[in-house]
């Protein structure tokens, strides 16, 4: 099988996929940029905190730095002029983009014929990819809700007063790690998989493989209770087994997260009250279950852990 550059080009050059291609370049760049700044700032902070004289004063903790400079600057003009510049540049990019790339319209919808692959807009492809691993109700309703609610809850859960207005890694290790896992792994990577890896029939095509509509794969989904040898028609046994495994797994994960936070992040544990702590642990556990479930499906073909007549997990 030769490496199919044509297919790569088709996928990359599709007007639909231009944003995600840009994103694949921009995200590493900004990641690199942010970390570069963060490391420099961290170094400065360390330097300042090592100097008792300077540490006493409330200094600007970011580069560029000079002890004699103003500690704070006015929004106007020092911030707004940069924002204005950014706005103009973004406008120029959007105008040029819209001039040279037309809206990627396709054929009128045909109720008798479903397109294959049928794909959501690029920014939703991560969610669509989740459908492979979860019950539609979980992937399409519950998880997006958790994402929204979780994002809204962050300010109320975050007890760390440091790191406002400047890049830093040392002062916000936990927040940055959590963000990178949630955004990069659970959103961006899934969107990329949905865009470039999932071909006709939502089958898995490695880059360089031809998206052949006639490809047939043999894939049998099993449920965990089947692996455990419980017959499908023993509904009660199946439900109880799944419930015990699922809730047990959640409890175990919760315990692991709890111990880890207490041990590794005593500051966080100390600063949060009980309700904040419960929610933090809960959200972290949920985030952790997604890749676990994906691994079960991709590596072991296990579709559901908990099968009930009403819902599947």
């Amino acid at each position: 099988m030769h490496f199919d550059w044509h297919q790569i080009w088709v996928n990359v050059s599709l007007p639909d996929n231009v944003p995600i291609v840009l994103m694949m370049i921009l995200i590493p760049y900004f990641l690199w940029y942010g970390f570069r700044e963060a490391v420099r700032n961290d170094r400065l902070i360390a330097q300042l905190e090592a100097d008792p004289a300077l540490a006493k004063t409330h200094h600007r903790k970011t580069f560029p730095f000079h002890p004699a400079w103003d500690k704070v600057l006015h929004t106007w003009p020092y911030l707004l002029r940069v924002e204005f510049l950014a706005a103009v540049i973004v406008t120029v990019i959007l105008v040029v983009w819209s001039v040279f790339l037309d809206a990627p319209l396709e054929s009128p919808a045909n109720p008798m014929l479903t397109m294959n692959p049928a794909k959501a807009p690029w920014y939703f492809l991560g969610l669509q990819e989740l459908l492979v691993y979860f019950d539609p109700w979980i992937a399409g309703v519950m998880l997006p809700n958790f994402i929204v609610v979780g994002l809204m809850a962050i300010p109320y859960l975050d007890p760390n007063p440091l790191g406002n207005g400047y890049y830093t890694w040392k002062q916000r290790k936990f927040a940055i790690t959590g963000f990178m896992f949630g955004f990069l792994v659970l959103w961006v990577v899934l969107a990329i998989v949905g865009t470039f890896i999932r071909g006709p029939g939502w089958m898995w095509f490695w880059p360089g493989e031809t998206w052949d509509h006639h490809r047939v794969v043999h894939e049998v989904n099993t449920h965990l209770h089947q692996v455990a040898g419980i017959p499908d028609d023993h509904h009660l046994a199946v439900g109880v087994f799944g419930g015990v495994v699922t809730l047990g797994a959640l409890a175990v994960l919760g315990g692991i997260v709890d111990i880890t936070i207490r041990k590794k992040l005593p500051e966080l544990f100390r600063r949060q009250n009980f309700i904040q702590y419960i929610h933090t642990v809960g959200l972290l556990v949920l985030m952790a279950t997604v890749p676990i479930k994906m691994a079960l499906k991709l590596a072991l073909n296990i579709k559901y852990v908990w099968v009930t007549p009403w819902f599947n997990v």
Binding site: W69, Y78, T91, V92, S107, N116
Partner: protein
């Protein structure tokens, strides 16, 4: 600032804070520039890049204006220097001049008088103006005063007295008036001042008289100059008519004029200047092109002319031109935005434009002093830079005449995206997602199909007609359902279903009637309540009886139509139930394997390489499969053991030489061919009959030649498949069961040959054998074990779609229905493993492997073919192509369509038909909805094509019947002899023949003569019209078709000619004798002579329409230039409008009647030859 001035420099300098001091001016300035630039980019994109038509319209203006200027100049030159000097025009001009001269004197005189009267009337009017006004005012006063006093008698009212006296005074007032009097005498016009004086009263009367005199003079003048005006009009009309027909003018020019034309070099203008536009019209056209109006132009003057021409700036130039059809769901087509000349009145070709633009033309000046102007030819590079292809006219203006673009737009027929003007790809819909891409040029007629699905023949659709013809002749409809083809099968299914329903209804209603009857008896009269039921019961029974009668009628109609449908039904291939009696045992097997390559002789020549039967593919052990199929066919065939009538008698000994002559001269070669390679003669409508001795038994050939459609065993449609052939039934005319069918599903007609002729032809055909072909003895044919597998294979391969096979009579074709094939989503077409190649433009047939004829020429380029068109093209060229690279251990999973031998053009034409077969988006009201006449033509064509009428006859004047190419007849195709020795043309036959006769003749062309007297009307012809065994419905369709084609009403009302008086009878007989009609005609089968070359006139009373006869006899060559019949009556009707016989005959004295009419009545009364 002060700080820097006063601070001591000792303090270490603090570096400036970049966040505060860094200047952003440069980035902001640059980004603002980029911002403005992006806006400019957006404007340019919107106004120029996305509107390529602006540039095109500019180019069009330049090109077309230059073209028109030159054409108009050349045209004017031609008009002034050549056309006006054509002899005919000069004659007309002279006539006009003479006419003018003839009335000159009188006209001048009258005109002078008229002028004088007018002048006098005007002068008098002026002189009386004041007095008239005063009188009017005084009259009003007098009436008003009298009326106010309550006195209606104004004349005697005292109140009015004063005013009436006043009026009288004015009437007595004297006035003088002066006028210019014109007199004409002896060619001189003189004018003189005259004056007169008179009293107002009498002068008022004079003025009225003058008006009357003027009118009279005007009238006199008109009458006097009538001839002059008519001559002038004739001259102008000739000019107007011939402006559009320069060729005609040239043809009719005398030699001197021709010479003058040749010298002027005008003849070469004819091609592109032969337009129906005068030079001034061309100038007008040019003006309209020069001033492309535009809404951008601003500040208009009072006349609406723009004062500021913004449109002169290319960016603001141009308009989207669109056709908006509200009734068709707001259909919008903007094609003419770029295809600017598509609908212009002047027919322009690319070649014509190139030639004219390159030419240098000299235009004579308006006055001799001004001198000629020279219009320089364009340099070639400039011509090449213009998109001339966009500026040509629609190549088929006659199509636009019936499909007005104003009503139909462009994309209804051509497809494409009519709304888009952004670029060619979008506008033409050459985009993966556009479902109706523009039909490529070679398939442009595909657009006809969506509305003309039922028209087998379209008057202007050459390619689509060819496609459908191919579809019909290759027998695609055997496997594929398609609207209009093979309809009898579905009809029979529907009729069968309905018949069952009707039968059930009759049963139920009869049952109910019986029940009611039983109930009736039990109803007692004693009880009043029950007695009331009696009439109700009776009423219901009566209603039921009526309904049952209606149902029985329907039952009869169903039975009749079912029989007709069985007669009409046609199959692509021969009846395979006959193989046991028909074929030689050893022939069958190899033929099944590969008909085109079967039974090769020593030098590798196959038995019938040009057969229509396609080659099927055999997998696995091909030998065994083919043997199984052959064994099944052989064993399933009807056995003479079971059907005594299957035992055919040995044909009588025949003379092969005479048989050859008959075969070549009776008309067999109109459909069949014989001979191979260069020796092949005849047509490909039916099989090539070479070497028939290797294939068929003589008994069967004899039987077939004798009457092909006659079944060997009767056929009972009501029985189940496999049991339909019934033994022992009598034949039609021998008291046969009317439910039985006696007609084979073939179309070959019966030639009514005598037994000896049949024997001769049989001897000739069966005597044809090649030498040195080895035939193996087919021991396997009777192997019963092969039967089941053979049947399985036959069912899979779909043999029963084309052939009648015992037990499989009702099998449907194995192919997919093609009626909506063109609108199938591409995802529904299985390209197999070639999907990716098709999408990416890899041509799998580029190597030409496995392609027949010149099909490889279709697949030379690598280009994307993931479209319905590509699918069909590849499929037709190589039907198994989509099995490529498939692992198919199961032979029943494979593609079945066999390999046909199509040429590239045939493939293209059938593709045109298939891709045009779509579920149309065009609203119902826009599709072709034929009236009765149109329907008759539509249905008639199916019958005409089915029976190959055009093989012998011309149906349309442009037809070239196959008979004309058969060697024996080819020498008689000369226009002088064509009508005498070849079958008659059927152009206008619906006007010639009475419908009843047409039907009678179609049913039995021998008109009762049978095999003994097989020829009836034109016994002198070598060919004969065969008996086709049409169904009654087909005969009706044909009669209506011919009438409609000749524009005759559906119902014929014969005119009843006045009976001949004795004197007239004598006169007519005298003409009959004098004209020697009997020399060429015969009457009621009177003896033929070597001079006989015209139809039998004995049938005339029932056969010919009198109105046609009248036209025909008065001018035969005028109606049919190929006829041998000449004019016998004066060149034109006499002054009384009556035709006269050319020579004086004593019997004609005192005969008042029109002599042609006399002959019509004579013939219509059947008096001829008596």
């Amino acid at each position: 600032m002060s700080q820097t001035e006063t601070a001591p420099p000792a303090e270490p300098a603090i570096p400036k804070d970049p966040l505060v001091h860094k200047s952003y001016s440069v980035p902001i300035a640059l980004s603002m520039l980029a911002f403005v630039g992006s806006l400019v980019l957006a404007v340019v994109d919107e106004m120029w890049w996305r509107r390529p038509y602006k540039a095109i319209q500019g180019q069009y203006q330049e090109t077309y204006s230059a073209y028109l200027e030159k054409v108009a100049a050349k045209r004017r030159n031609f008009h002034d220097n050549v056309l006006l000097r054509v002899a005919e025009y000069e004659t007309l001009a002279q006539t006009a001049k003479d006419a003018a001269a003839a009335v000159a004197e009188r006209a001048m005189d009258l005109e002078a008088q008229l002028k004088t009267a007018s002048a006098k009337s005007r002068a008098l009017g002026n002189a009386l103006k004041e007095a008239k006004s005063e009188i009017a005012a005084l009259t009003y006063e007098s009436e008003h005063k009298a009326q106010s006093a309550g006195n209606d008698d104004v004349a005697n009212a005292p109140e009015a007295r004063k005013y009436i006296d006043e009026i009288q005074k004015i009437r007595d007032r004297e006035v003088t008036y002066t006028w210019t009097a014109t007199t004409y005498a002896g060619g001189n016009t003189e004018t003189k001042e005259e004056s007169a004086t008179g009293k107002v009263g009498p002068l008022l009367e004079v003025a009225m008289e003058l008006e009357t005199a003027k009118a009279t003079l005007q009238q006199d003048l008109g009458t006097a100059t009538e001839a002059r005006a008519a001559a002038a009009k004739a001259k102008d009309e000739w000019l107007a008519n011939n402006l559009g027909n320069l060729a005609h003018a040239l043809e009719n020019a005398d030699d001197a004029t021709k010479k003058r034309i040749a010298e002027s070099g005008a003849a070469r203008y004819l091609d592109e200047t032969a337009v129906s536009l005068s030079p001034s019209a061309l100038d007008g056209l040019r003006r309209s092109v020069d001033q492309i109006p535009h809404s951008w132009d601003i500040f208009r003057d009072g006349a609406g002319q723009a004062l500021i021409h913004v449109s002169d700036v290319p960016l603001f130039r141009g308009d989207i031109k669109q056709i908006h059809i509200k009734e068709a769901a707001n259909w919008v087509d903007r094609c003419t935005t770029c295809h600017l000349n598509a609908r212009e009145p002047l027919a322009v070709t690319v070649e014509g434009m190139k030639r004219v633009l390159a030419e240098t033309v000299t235009v004579p000046g308006a006055t001799p002093e001004a001198g000629p102007t020279t219009l320089e030819g364009w340099p070639q590079s400039k011509i090449d830079s213009m998109p001339l292809d966009l500026f040509k006219s629609h190549p088929r203006p006659e199509l636009l005449a019936t499909h007005d673009p104003e009503r139909f737009g462009c994309s209804m027929c051509h497809n494409g995206n009519g709304v888009a003007v952004t670029n060619t790809e979008l506008a033409h819909g050459i985009n993966h997602y556009w479902l109706q891409p523009l039909y490529p040029k070679e398939h442009s007629e595909a657009g006809c199909v969506q509305c003309h699905m039922k028209d087998l023949h379209l008057p202007m659709g050459d390619r689509i007609n060819a496609g459908r013809d191919q579809f019909r002749r290759a027998g695609c409809w055997g496997c594929h359902k398609y609207e209009g083809f093979n309809t009898e099968v579905d009809e029979l299914t529907a009729l069968g279903g309905r018949a069952k329903e009707v039968e059930k209804a009759i049963r139920e209603k009869t049952q109910r009637t019986d029940n009611l009857l039983a109930l009736q008896g039990s109803l007692s009269d004693d009880d009043a309540a029950i007695a009331k039921e009696k009439p109700v019961n009776l009423a219901e029974r009566n209603a039921l009886t009526q309904q049952i009668a209606q149902l029985r009628t329907e039952q009869q109609q169903i039975a009749r139509r079912a029989r007709e449908a069985f007669v009409e039904r046609q199959r692509v291939g021969p009846n395979l139930k006959d193989v046991k009696v028909k074929l030689l045992r050893q022939f069958l097997t190899d033929w099944v394997r590969d008909p085109r390559a079967a039974h090769k002789d020593a030098s590798g020549n196959a038995f019938r390489p040009d057969t229509k039967m396609p080659t099927f593919r055999w997998w696995g052990d091909a030998d065994e499969e083919v043997k199984d199929v052959a064994a099944f066919l052989w064993q399933s065939a009807l056995d003479p053991q079971d059907f005594p009538e299957y035992r055919l008698p040995k044909p009588a000994a025949g003379d092969a030489k005479r048989g050859k002559e008959l075969f070549e001269q009776t008309g067999c070669l109109v459909c069949h061919s014989i001979g191979t390679g260069a020796e092949k003669i005849g047509a490909d409508y039916a099989a090539n009959l070479s070497n028939l001795g290797e294939k068929d038994t003589p008994e069967y050939v004899a039987r077939w030649v004798h009457h092909p459609r006659e079944r060997l065993a009767a056929y009972d449609p009501s029985k189940k498949p496999g049991a339909r052939d019934v033994a022992g039934a009598k034949k039609p005319g021998e008291g046969a069961d009317p439910d039985l069918v006696w007609s084979q599903h073939v179309i070959m007609p019966n030639f009514r040959l005598s037994d000896q002729q049949v024997a001769d032809i049989t001897a000739y055909l069966v005597g044809q054998k090649r030498s040195g072909v080895k035939y193996e003895e087919p021991t396997w044919l009777d192997d019963k074990k092969r039967f089941e597998n053979g049947k399985r294979l036959v069912l899979f391969q779909g043999c029963a779609g084309c052939h009648e096979i015992k037990g499989l009579e009702d099998e449907k074709g194995i192919g997919v229905e093609l009626t909506p094939e063109g609108s199938k989503p591409i995802e529904r077409l299985d390209f197999g493993h070639l999907t990716i190649s098709a999408e990416r433009g890899v041509e799998p047939l580029k190597d030409g492997k496995g392609l027949l004829e010149d099909a490889a020429s279709l697949f030379t380029k690598d280009q994307p073919w993931y479209r319905v068109r590509g699918f069909v093209l590849h499929k037709l060229a190589k039907p198994d192509i989509y099995d490529t690279a498939k692992y198919l251990p199961d032979r029943y999973g494979r593609l079945r369509m066999p390999q046909f031998k199509f040429t590239a053009q045939e493939i293209r034409d059938v593709t045109t038909m298939v891709i045009g077969s779509v579920e149309t988006k065009i609203p119902e009201t826009f599709r072709y909805r034929p009236d009765d006449r149109g329907k008759a033509i539509q249905e008639g064509w199916w019958v005409v094509k089915k029976y190959n009428c055009q093989g012998c006859h011309q149906i349309e004047p442009t037809d070239v019947p196959a008979l004309w190419n058969v060697p024996f007849f080819a020498e008689k195709v000369d226009p002088k002899t064509r009508d005498t020795f070849l079958p008659p043309t059927l152009v206008g036959v619906g006007y010639r023949l009475q419908p009843e006769f047409m039907a009678k003749f179609l049913r039995d062309p021998s008109l009762g003569g049978g095999r003994d007297k097989p020829k009836s009307l034109r016994a002198h012809l070598a060919v004969r019209m065969p008996t086709f065994d049409f169904s009654d419905d087909e005969i009706q369709k044909l009669v209506l078709f011919f009438q409609a084609m000749a524009d005759q009403p559906e119902v014929y009302q014969p005119s009843v000619p006045k009976p001949l008086t004795d004197a007239e009878k004598k006169a007519a007989a005298a003409i009959w004798k004098a004209a020697n009609c009997i020399q060429c005609h015969v009457v009621s089968g009177s003896a033929m002579t070597t001079e006989t070359k015209a139809p039998d006139l004995g049938h005339t009373p029932k056969r010919l329409r009198p109105e046609w006869m009248h036209r025909w006899i008065s001018d035969p060559p005028g109606m049919n230039p190929n006829t041998a019949m000449t004019r016998f009556f004066g060149e034109k009707p006499g002054k009384d409008g009556k035709w006269r016989y050319m020579t004086e005959l004593p019997e004609l004295k005192g005969i008042e009647a029109d002599h042609v009419d006399l002959m019509v009545r004579y013939l219509s009364e059947g008096q001829a030859g008596k």
